[in-house]
């Protein structure tokens, strides 16, 4: 069960990064113009994050179910990000950090959650 938090957190983070790589949303979030290097880095790290999520998912649950899990969480996290970020840009960014941090905590100390 502990696979779900890292999977959701990484996919959510990847959507946040990919979205911020678009100048229009970067402005909405930070009220400044992103440099082209920054946009490229955001985009590359965004894609790598979702690739990492896919690798983790497939390694823990096998090719077939791992792919389905990854795909479902990929779509849902996109929907959560798109719903949150126009209303609560700050919260939507913090959620990405909190998600990844708690996923790391859960991976390092798996006994802290027994669901």
């Amino acid at each position: 069960m502990t696979i779900w938090l890292p999977l959701l957190a990484l996919n959510y983070l990847s959507w946040a990064l990919l979205c911020l790589a678009v100048a229009r949303y970067y402005r909405h979030h930070f009220s400044s113009e992103p440099s082209s290097t920054r946009r490229r880095v955001l985009r590359i790290v965004g894609w790598l994050t979702t690739l990492l999520a896919y690798v983790i998912s497939v390694r823990s649950r096998g090719w077939d179910i791992g792919s389905v899990d990854w795909c479902a969480s990929w779509m849902l996290t996109a929907i959560v990000w798109v719903l949150l970020q126009p209303y609560l840009p700050r919260v939507s960014r913090w959620l990405a950090f909190i998600g990844v941090l708690s996923a790391i905590a859960l991976t390092v100390y798996p006994s802290s959650a027994s669901f």
């Binding site: 069960m1 389905v68 798109v82």
Partner: protein, 518 residues
């Protein structure tokens, strides 16, 4: 040329989508709820909530099935699993209705009837209308595929507008954004679910092959497809019938995992045969392993060879659709994605009407536009009322009524009809959306309370104390969904007010402009 193509695709998207959108909404919502069919089944059968501890008896269940259907040739028995503690029995008896009963796993006695969570499953694939219904669902699924593909073509900037959602834009823009982002972000799911949904019933939709090769006998066709052995009848009664519990135990040991179902064939003949189908835990395609036993002696006969590749592909695709493979978490994700699909459909019909709001306003309610408006409120706001009412009916109808399951189904239909009529009447003046959302909210928010009053031993508090998380889950989910509907009701009140204020302001400025005009 390119523009003409896009225009024709826009036409296709609009009309292929509109004519089936209400049916698709019902199918989507039914399917979304059916993600938790067994959990709802369990909630709807309080007789199962406090079973005395003890061994499971498949033999008692089989004996009780045989008295219920004395002429049946084949029995299907589903042993208890983590999601459902009852034994499920399925029987086809010649020239009789299909029998599907839940049995007490201790003594095999029938548990008071309910339509159960299965109601939403039936609604999902056949609209509760038998063969005709399943054809309609298939047609809707195919049109949905058309609408999805043409939708991608006419969406000019799929990638550029990937993250666009402008809730404050108001009017048609916000509805279209809502439709676009639920459609685009959920697209892999929608495509998969529409395609595999049609594929599951493929042999019913493309009947020619079965008709020619198997003279229309679907059972024989599926037997041949899955490689089931042909059993030769001996035309004499069996002198001994082996214990199903012993066979089940042996099958679990040989398979190294749980058994999904036992199929007992030719129960009145010496050729009686029992097949044990492996549960597919850990594989999308399901078990795919079948052990065959001699039903008279109880001895292990053989394991079926792996089914051919075509059948495995079929099993994989239907497994993807039916999501019986990965535990509760993936079912929740399907539930949420299904809800997203329902939102996509609901916003689609709103976009259609908002785009034509001027004509619709001029034509009034007695017109095609009016019909669309009425169907929108009747289906989209009406079906949640009926679904919540079904759960109420389950608890409020006495448990010893003979025709209980039918009465539950009728209360679902009656409450939907009532909601539809109310919605249609209130469209002229009033807030039908707010009314129906409010009713749904009240029904769902009060469900835990009603449950506690009618079944004190299965109340939310008692279930928490018993650590019965399925019962806790149904009550809590109902409450949370109730909060959601209360919010929707509040939103639809506000939107209407805002629209009216805008209209009044526009009218005022118009009269002012006219007054100022020389």
């Amino acid at each position: 040329m390119k523009n003409a193509f896009r225009q024709s695709m826009a036409w296709l998207h609009t009309w292929a989508g509109l004519i089936v959108s209400w049916m698709l909404f019902a199918i989507f919502l039914g399917g979304t709820l059916a993600c938790f069919d067994k959990e709802l089944d369990y909630w709807m059968r309080p007789a199962l909530h406090h079973l005395a501890p003890g061994p499971t008896s498949m033999d008692a269940a089989a004996a009780s099935l045989r008295t219920m259907a004395p002429h049946a040739d084949t029995l299907y028995l589903r042993p208890p699993d983590a999601r459902d503690p009852s034994i499920h029995g399925f029987v086809f008896e010649p020239s009789k209705a299909y029998l599907d009963v839940a049995l007490n796993p201790r003594d095999g006695k029938r548990i008071p009837a309910t339509v159960g969570g299965n109601f939403f499953f039936d609604l999902h694939y056949s609209l509760q209308a038998g063969k005709l219904g399943s054809y309609l669902v298939g047609l809707a699924g195919m049109l949905m595929l058309l609408a999805l593909i043409s939708g991608v073509i006419i969406h000019r900037r799929v990638f550029k507008d990937f993250f666009v959602f402008r809730p404050r834009a108001g009017g048609q823009r916000a509805w279209l954004d809502g439709h676009n982002f639920t459609g685009v972000l959920g697209l892999p799911f929608h495509l998969m679910i529409a395609y595999t949904g049609v594929i599951i019933m493929m042999s019913n939709y493309m009947y020619a092959g079965v008709q020619i090769g198997y003279r229309g006998d679907l059972v024989r066709y599926y037997d041949a497809l899955s490689g089931a052995p042909k059993i030769v009848e001996q035309h004499r009664p069996p002198d001994h019938v082996a214990s199903l519990d012993a066979i089940l135990n042996d099958a679990v040991r040989r398979l190294g995992g749980p058994v999904a179902s036992l199929e007992v064939e030719h129960i009145h003949d010496a050729s009686i045969t029992v097949s044990a189908l492996a549960a597919g835990n850990g594989k999308v395609a399901g078990g795919l392993r079948t052990l065959v036993y001699d039903g008279a002696q109880g001895s292990f006969r053989s394991e079926l060879s792996a089914p051919p590749a075509a059948y495995r592909v079929y099993q994989f695709l239907s497994g993807l659709h039916r999501v019986q493979f990965g535990g509760t978490a993936i079912r929740w994700l399907y539930f949420l994605l299904g809800a997203t699909g329902s939102v996509m459909l609901a916003t689609a019909t709103q976009v259609w009407i908002k785009k034509r709001s001027r004509q619709a306003g001029a034509a009034g309610l007695r017109s095609g536009y009016g019909l669309v408006k009425i169907l929108n409120v009747a289906v989209i706001a009406g079906m949640p009322v009926a679904s919540a009412a079904l759960l109420w009916a389950n608890r409020l109808l006495p448990y010893d009524l003979p025709d209980r399951a039918n009465l539950e189904a009728e209360s679902f239909c009656a409450s939907w009809l009532l909601a539809a009529v109310w919605g249609a009447l209130r469209l002229q003046r009033g807030k039908p959306w707010r009314d129906l959302f409010a009713v749904t909210a009240v029904l769902l928010l009060a469900l835990p309370l009603m449950n506690a009053l009618t079944q004190p031993r299965s109340s939310l508090l008692a279930s928490v104390a018993d650590r019965d998380w399925v019962l806790v889950g149904v009550d809590v989910t109902s409450f949370v969904l109730g909060l959601g509907f209360a919010w929707l009701g509040w939103l639809s009140t506000c939107t209407r007010q805002r629209a009216e204020t805008r209209q009044r302001a526009a009218a005022l400025s118009l009269t002012q402009a006219q007054a100022e005009a020389p």
